[in-house]
């Protein structure tokens, strides 16, 4: 092997490793969902002031929770699988909130199916999971524009699942003062601790 | 024919240096790992209390992985050395494979001694990922990656061999003698048995390595992403396909030494015949399909696979053994053979292979296996094949090459000590097994301890015998002129 080939090999190997390192955020993220988490943890993302309609039919904005940290999960009420599980998880988290009234975390579930998820459906979803209005808001985007903004700004992926529903990101999003600060797995056992720590 | 042979054969000067390296490393590592084996038996006999269970399982993994790898390398050296008489092999590839193997050995030994990996050489999924604090994921990864590198090393040599065989004989099938066997071509009685055996080993080992390439990487993926959990039975099938084929092929490589060296003693050529070719074809297929006998206890295994494993276990050893043992005896009979270290070792190897069939067949019965599989009967069975079959063949090969078999009184005595020790060692295992002494137990009941101590003692004899044969060879090897013709 000539020295030139050897140098070329080392260079090529280095470049290829750097490429893979960059794409996988240091060999830690191999899927889009984990990559999104790593990216947000590295640098928070600004989100606009989404206009939502809650289960009472009232219109609200993210900025209405000015001094609170929002834990945002995306769901749709006719979802038979993961949204039910996320609902149960919120139910558990709500208990933590009640036990620690001083924390400033607020739970927010936003529907990605605004056409079908009327305020009645949203209220029914929260009832199903024994949700309390005081600490858990279930809402839908006010219009298609907001839905689009939400998806674009958070990097959420939503695709039809061929059963009339959606396959969508299952992660939970920590938002405070118009900044997406962190993305967590809903199964993460550390969520309670993060809540008592104030998000 | 003569000119053709000269055209194809590897030049003499290229053949010997790398083979010497293989042999020297092989003999030293064999002896070192025998010592590890003795320590394990002594620990089971409770006469070495300093070896606790944690260390015991590390030693067991080291002894297993090391012996399998070394047997593979030594048998490969036998195969390569004799095949290179007929086809033109590339010594640089052979050397590269040795270097790669040493890298693999460093990884494996490091994983065991530094990383404390102790899941056995079969790295049986999902054990490597469930160490209960004994070893880290990194150690398991290193061990498995080491096996992968070892597989690549062997693959390189087999590809080179395959290529050279195709160049001379047209195809692997022709080297195996299929056209002659099925009457497409007239029987060429000068077709070398070495080439037939090499073709068989090549086919099964490349298939085994291919399975290994999949299962080893899946094991690594599982170690890194525990949620990615492959089907355990399928993994086990692939692991045993890979592992069984690899270790089984060592005896079919090592037996080439018998085919090549015994005729020189007997001064009669070893000629191929139709039954000989048929036996080797049969064993090619059987070695690929016999591995389910490792899974007879897995109730979820489809019944037909268990039945196939049992039937093939009965039959797989027999065809080649019969033609080889019979051919060997025919060769020796009234030939006025000279009994020295090399010839006695080679015949001892044949004996070990032949008698080793008996414990193997017993263990291959489903009803027996259900009771005996986790007893020391199984180590008894495979030590019979490997310690009284493969090792003497390799030692005989080394003795013939290194000292032309003339090792004098010490050599003959060494063979005797080795034979007595090896048979005794296997008997302690078999007797233990028949008395339901479990295998892979670090600590033994008091009632079993005498067997462990006897095993350690006979293992010591094996080690002494090996050193008596190997040390003079090792001293002479650097200067030895290796010739066989």
């Amino acid at each position: 092997m000539s020295p030139r080939t050897a140098i070329g090999l080392v260079l090529a190997g280095g470049l290829v490793t750097a490429l893979l390192w960059q794409r996988t955020a240091g060999f830690s993220a191999f899927t889009y969902e984990t990559w999104r988490r790593v990216e947000v943890a590295r640098e928070p993302v600004a989100v606009s002031d989404w206009r939502l309609q809650d289960a009472q039919g009232d219109f609200v904005r993210l900025s209405d929770w000015r001094d609170e940290t929002l834990l945002v999960g995306f769901i749709y009420t006719s979802c038979p699988s993961v949204c039910v599980a996320i609902g149960s998880r919120y139910q558990q988290l709500q208990r933590t909130l009640q036990a620690n009234p001083s924390t400033d975390v607020h739970l927010l579930s936003i529907s990605i199916d605004p056409a079908r998820d009327t305020p009645e459906h949203l209220a029914e979803y929260r009832r199903r999971h024994a949700g309390l209005q005081s600490s858990w808001t279930v809402a839908r985007p006010a219009d298609a524009q907001v839905l689009g903004d939400m998806i674009r700004e958070t990097g959420l992926r939503v695709i039809p699942d061929q059963l009339g529903g959606f396959s969508h990101s299952e992660s939970l999003h920590w938002i405070r003062d118009g900044q997406l600060l962190r993305i967590s797995d809903w199964r993460d056992p550390e969520l309670e601790k993060m809540i008592t720590d104030g998000g | 024919m003569a000119t053709q042979q000269a055209d194809y054969a590897t030049p003499e000067t290229e053949r010997t240096p790398v083979v010497k390296l293989y042999l020297a490393i092989g003999l030293i590592v064999f002896a070192a790992l025998m010592l590890v084996g003795v320590l394990m038996r002594a620990a089971q006999g409770a006469s070495l209390s300093s070896i606790g269970p944690a260390l015991f399982y590390q030693l067991m993994t080291l002894h297993g992985a090391g012996m399998v790898g070394t047997a593979g390398l030594a048998a490969l050296a036998v195969n390569w050395y004799f095949l290179s008489r007929y086809v033109r092999l590339n010594p640089r590839v052979f050397l590269g494979a040795l270097i790669l193997s040493l890298v693999a050995v460093a990884m494996i030994v490091g994983a065991i001694l530094i990383g404390k990996f102790a899941a056995g050489w079969t790295f049986l999924y999902p054990l490597p990922a469930n160490p209960l604090g004994q070893w880290g994921t990194g150690a398991a990864l290193f061990f498995v990656a080491g096996l992968l590198v070892l597989g690549v090393a062997f693959l390189l040599v087999y590809l080179d061999m395959g290529l050279a065989i195709v160049r001379r004989y047209g195809s692997i099938a022709r080297a195996l003698g299929l056209p002659m066997l099925f009457g497409r071509e007239p029987l060429d009685r000068t077709h070398p048995p070495t080439v037939v055996a090499s073709a068989m080993v090549l086919i099964v080992n490349v298939a085994g390595i291919a399975a290994g390439a999949v299962v080893l990487v899946m094991t690594m993926l599982h170690l890194v992403f525990p949620a990615l959990a492959p089907d355990a039975l399928l993994m086990k099938n692939l692991i045993y396909f890979f592992g069984h084929v690899f270790i089984n092929a060592t005896i079919y490589s090592a037996v080439i030494a018998v085919y090549e060296i015994l005729p020189l003693y007997a001064r009669r050529p070893w000629k191929v015949s139709r039954p000989f070719l048929a036996a080797w074809l049969a064993v090619t297929l059987m070695v690929l399909a016999v591995y389910p006998h490792h899974l007879l206890m897995d109730f979820a295994l489809p019944a037909w696979m268990a039945v196939m494993g049992q039937i093939l276990s009965y039959t797989s050893g027999i065809p080649v053994l019969v033609v080889t043992a019979f051919g060997g005896l025919m060769l020796i009979y009234r030939s006025g053979i000279r009994w020295d270290a090399a010839s006695s070792l080679l015949v001892l190897g044949l004996f070990g292979w032949a008698v080793g069939i008996v414990p193997a067949v017993i263990d291959g019965m489903i009803s027996v296996n259900l009771v005996m599989h986790n007893t020391q009967w199984v180590p008894g069975h495979f030590h019979f094949y490997l310690l009284i079959g493969v090792v003497p063949m390799v030692l005989g090969f080394a003795s013939y090459l290194g000292s032309n078999g003339e090792q004098g009184q010490t050599g003959r005595l060494g063979v005797g000590v080795f034979a007595v020790g090896a048979v005794l060692l296997c008997l302690t295992f078999l007797v233990s097994g028949a008395n339901s002494v479990p295998r892979r137990f670090a600590v033994h009941e008091e009632a079993w301890q005498w067997l462990g101590n006897l095993g350690a003692l006979s293992g010591g004899l094996v080690l002494i015998g090996t050193l008596m044969i190997a040390l003079p060879i090792l001293m002479r090897l650097p200067r030895a002129r290796l010739t066989t013709a």
Partner: protein, 197 residues
């Protein structure tokens, strides 16, 4: 080169298909399912690169100068091959136009052409290792897709992923039989024919 018009036509069609993968309607067609994306478009793009190396003497001359051993091409090709095996890359290529462009450029050039060049340069032993490794990748990737408990690509449903896995395993099985027959009974030419060394 232009002596055979069909060859020119074939090249044009291949190029057209690759470039068309950039435009939304065709892109949507290729990227509609994981199967068509991974098992149709990717191999097609890689084939374009390989074909280019085969048919272009100037490119061959350049490669001959830059990488006579083919080792560098092998490293580059393997690296990009791994890159495009990552679920995240496949995912991003479906909705990030920049990554889609990267795919249309690098899969033919850095995977197809590079691996073809290294295949041409490597000796038979190197080719054997490449062949076995390529086959093993089919098996491993297919197996992973089949058993992964999570949806690896946000844009492809898990049943699509599993079907892709089955197809990969099927391809592995068929090619195993093919390669085995060829290796044992092949290479199907007369013995003693002069070999090009």
């Amino acid at each position: 080169m232009a002596a055979e018009p069909w060859r020119g036509a074939a090249r044009t069609i291949l190029l057209a298909v690759s470039v068309a993968g950039l435009f939304p309607p065709v892109a949507a067609l290729f990227e509609a399912s994981m199967r068509s994306h991974l098992l149709v478009q990717m191999p097609l793009l890689a084939f374009c690169g390989g074909y280019w190396v085969y048919r272009s003497p100037p490119l061959k001359r350049w490669l001959e100068r830059v990488d006579p051993s083919g080792y560098i091409a092998l490293v580059v090709g393997s690296g990009w091959f791994i890159y495009w095996m990552l679920p995240i890359s496949l995912d991003l290529a479906t909705f990030d136009p920049g990554i889609r462009l990267l795919k249309i450029v690098t899969v033919p050039v850095c995977v197809g052409a590079a691996l073809t060049w290294s295949w041409l340069r490597l000796g038979p032993i190197g080719r054997g290792v490449m062949l076995l490794e390529g086959w093993a990748i089919l098996g491993r990737l297919g197996w992973v897709y089949l058993i992964s408990p999570v949806q690896l690509c946000s844009n492809y449903l898990i049943d699509d992923q599993q079907r892709t896995g089955s197809l990969l395993l099927g391809a592995a099985l068929i090619s195993a039989v093919g390669i085995a027959l060829w290796a044992v009974f092949g290479p199907f030419r007369k013995p003693h024919r002069t070999e090009q060394e």
